[in-house]
């Protein structure tokens, strides 16, 4: 065997292995998608309570007959799930825009200016970025409660717009943009605020796309904050509200699961290139 065939043989095996992993990784997602097109009866028969003791759930992958009962339930019969979707979308878009704004300001300050205590403060921001919710939730709860915002969407939005990771990422990305670019704007008479939005921001689009995707994903997936800040089940965002369907209806659960994946999968597919580039700036060496 010569080197070339050996190489292509190796690549084939590699592609095969990766495909096998990809199928495994996608299984829960595709299963949900496929389940959402099964009729109420088909779902109940295969995955429902009927599978009592002694009976096992069969490996039933594809719908026998494509039905839209789950979606009909979701869009027409029980519109509160769809309403939760729009409300959650509103909350997450607000958080994302807020995070972008504050992170761009912070990133600008820490990358392009010198001021006393800058590096120490930046170290503190790195530490804050690494703290899990088990640390940050207690302080935020105290403030949200003091402001009387418990049980409202603001309890999620207000602490949510300040992201240490966002400031950190924007600082890393902006530091990679040469200062000379800003200096030339300065010579043209632009002040630093105009230079930020006209020169700096347009030259870090990959980073901004990354922060948009990551902060939206983070907000869309939140669980810890809503279950602590919001007691009323009917005020929960979709990421928590969805968990409640589990027991109610499997067909609806599948359809709702698909609905909740759409925004984030859409973002991932469209911004994959930028995301990979942007994440690379986040590596602390």
């Amino acid at each position: 065997m010569n080197r070339k065939t050996r190489e292509s043989c190796k690549n084939f095996m590699l592609a095969l292995a990766l495909t096998a992993i990809a199928v495994t990784v996608l299984f829960p997602i595709l299963f949900t998608l496929s389940g959402s097109f099964m009729g109420e009866e088909e779902v109940a028969q295969n995955f429902g309570e009927i599978a009592l003791e002694g009976n096992y759930t069969p490996l039933h992958l594809l719908p026998d007959k494509i039905e839209l009962a789950g979606y009909a339930d979701l869009f027409v019969i029980q519109p509160n799930y769809l309403m939760r979707f729009w409300i959650s979308l509103g909350i997450c878009v607000t958080i994302t825009i807020g995070q972008l704004f504050f992170s761009i300001l912070g990133g600008y300050a820490f990358s392009k200016f010198q001021f006393p205590g800058r590096d120490v403060i930046f170290y503190c921001i790195i530490v804050l970025m690494l703290l899990p919710y088990q640390v940050t939730l207690v302080p935020s709860y105290m403030v949200v409660r003091a402001l009387g915002l418990l049980n409202t969407s603001y309890s999620l939005i207000l602490p949510g717009v300040f992201s240490a990771f966002g400031v950190f990422l924007m600082r890393q990305i902006m530091a990679a943009v040469p200062d000379s670019l800003l200096e030339s704007a300065h010579l043209d008479g632009a002040n630093s605020f105009i230079a930020l939005w006209r020169i700096l921001v347009p030259s870090c689009t990959a980073g901004i796309a990354t922060l948009t995707v990551l902060s939206f994903v983070d907000a869309w997936n939140m669980v810890e904050q809503p279950i602590v800040f919001i007691q009323d089940k009917f005020k929960q965002p979709l990421s928590v509200f969805l968990l409640a369907i589990n027991g109610e209806s499997i067909a609806l659960g599948f359809a709702c699961g698909v609905l909740s994946m759409i925004p984030v999968v859409f973002l991932l597919v469209f911004f994959e290139e930028q995301l990979v580039e942007g994440i690379s700036y986040s590596v602390l060496k």
Binding site: A15, F31, F113, F115, V135, L137, S140, V265
Partner: protein, 284 residues
Amino acid sequence: MKLTQRKSLEGISYAALPLAGFLVFFAVPFGISIVRSFQSGLTQEFVGFENYILVAQSESFRLAAGNTFRFMLMGVPSIILISLVIALALNQKIKGSSFFRTIFLMPYVIPVASTVMVFQIVFEQSGILNSLFFKDEAVDFLHSDNAFYVLVLLYIWKNFGYNMILFLTGLAQIPQEYYEAARVDGAGPLRIFWSITLPLLGPTFFFVFVISIVNSFKVFREAYALGGAYPHSSIYMLQHFMNNNFQNLNYQRLSVSSIYVFLMIALVVLALFLHRRRKGDNQL
């Protein structure tokens, strides 16, 4: 006013808004909770480390902290190994690598709640896994010690894609000339991996390690989705413990447990800092 002074004032004013947010929503109340952690819940009297000792002695905190540690011990090395192997495979410049990257990142972006039903259908007592392999001796994966391993699996499934991207970044920064030189010298692929790839990936490794520890705290979401507020004891995590204390608003216990987690993360960050210092690198 001098130009440098003006510049530094401008810098401070840009930093002010986000910093005010961190101060109001984190730093100041965290300071208050440190004070409270040394006070008695009823009388506000100074009680020293009593609350710390009480929390450390409590059954449920020990269970939660123990599970969280055990989880890290098992989950972090596994996920690092798996994501490294997959990153190495994707780094071979095969066709469709961006397609695979997108697929591997998918579990990271979708909410837990969207697929939790599938995991229940697969792992429950009458579930698909039992139906395929263990019909004679059905195992209740979600309500036994096995729940812990299911959780490790879900953690790897969800987070390996992000780690893989971090590793791919590290791999891309290794100069190609090193590989070519090694090949000219007749080094085999294994030798190249040990002598070039692995040492040069060092900084990335450390970062992936830290991120994996941070992400392992988020696995509460999966545990909560599978088992609710009171799951099987093997997947009772720190956040479960804290939620119970939020219910009856025990600020002392809440403060103490969040300070314990803070200290743990601070230790990891300190190690990161010292590691960097040892390498004589003060740059970020």
